[in-house]
């Protein structure tokens, strides 16, 4: 039996850059998208492809597998977008990218915390060592590379550090003295 499903789509098209779509025309695209069946639309322009785009949800009645429904979502979304562009007098040079998310995926993605970043002090706190010790541990081959080297010092993505800390074979105390080789 068919059930109603909601999918969120994001479309980017090829174009001549952010300024090639007039602000008034882009604003006018939003109500037109709603009129032709888009749910919760926002209109956009620019990005990597440089043309007009939009993000909105599509209602699909489906009983089959999710992959079958996704194919229908893709064609429906492009039909909606092209119909709206035509009504709003906006042109593009072909679809460059189309992303489809199921509603549960979108919810989970929007609730996901963004990446956190850490400097030497935060890394020291995270690892439970001194700032000086961080400088020593940095020399290890398996220590993550910083994402940036600022004048104030290196900056790491916390996610990469957590992986290192979880696998770090920490040995408490001073390293044992090596015995002098027999002369």
């Amino acid at each position: 039996m068919d059930e109603e499903h909601l999918y969120n789509v994001s479309i980017e098209t090829w174009g001549e850059g952010v300024g090639s779509v007039d602000d008034g025309a882009l604003s006018a695209l939003v109500p037109v998208l709603r009129d032709v069946g888009a749910v919760g639309p926002v209109a956009s322009a620019g990005g990597v492809a440089g043309g007009p785009g939009a993000t909105f949800s599509v209602r699909i009645w489906a009983a089959g597998s999710e992959s079958d429904a996704l194919v229908r979502v893709a064609s429906t979304a492009i039909e909606i977008f092209d119909a709206a562009c035509q009504k709003a007098g906006i042109t593009h040079k072909g679809v460059a990218r189309l992303d489809i998310l199921t509603e549960p995926y979108l919810e989970r993605d929007l609730e996901r915390e963004p990446e956190e970043y850490a400097g030497v002090s935060e890394v020291a706190e995270l690892m439970g060592v001194s700032r000086q010790r961080v400088s020593e541990i940095r020399a290890r081959d398996d220590f993550p590379e910083p994402v940036a080297e600022l004048a104030a010092g290196p900056v790491w993505a916390v996610s990469s550090l957590r992986t290192f800390v979880a696998n770090w074979p920490r040995k408490p105390g001073r390293p044992a003295r090596q015995k002098k080789a027999a002369v």
Partner: protein, 81 residues
Amino acid sequence: MTKDKGKARMDNKDYPQVRKAARKQGWRVEATTEGEMLYAPDGQSKIAWHTAHASSDPHALDSLVRQMRKSGFRWPPTRRR
């Protein structure tokens, strides 16, 4: 965040928070006759947001935040240590 059936879920009433965070992250927000136009800090993209339509559509803010995140918007905002 507006609570929806015990789950943290954005509602269009949360838009002022999104706009405030956007401005703090260098986005330019300008009023239009129907809503607002949001310009990404790198000047490479812009997004049209309609307040009037969004008020009757619970999915509009989700679309806006998803689109803004593609242009580098950090949401939810990171808490200060």
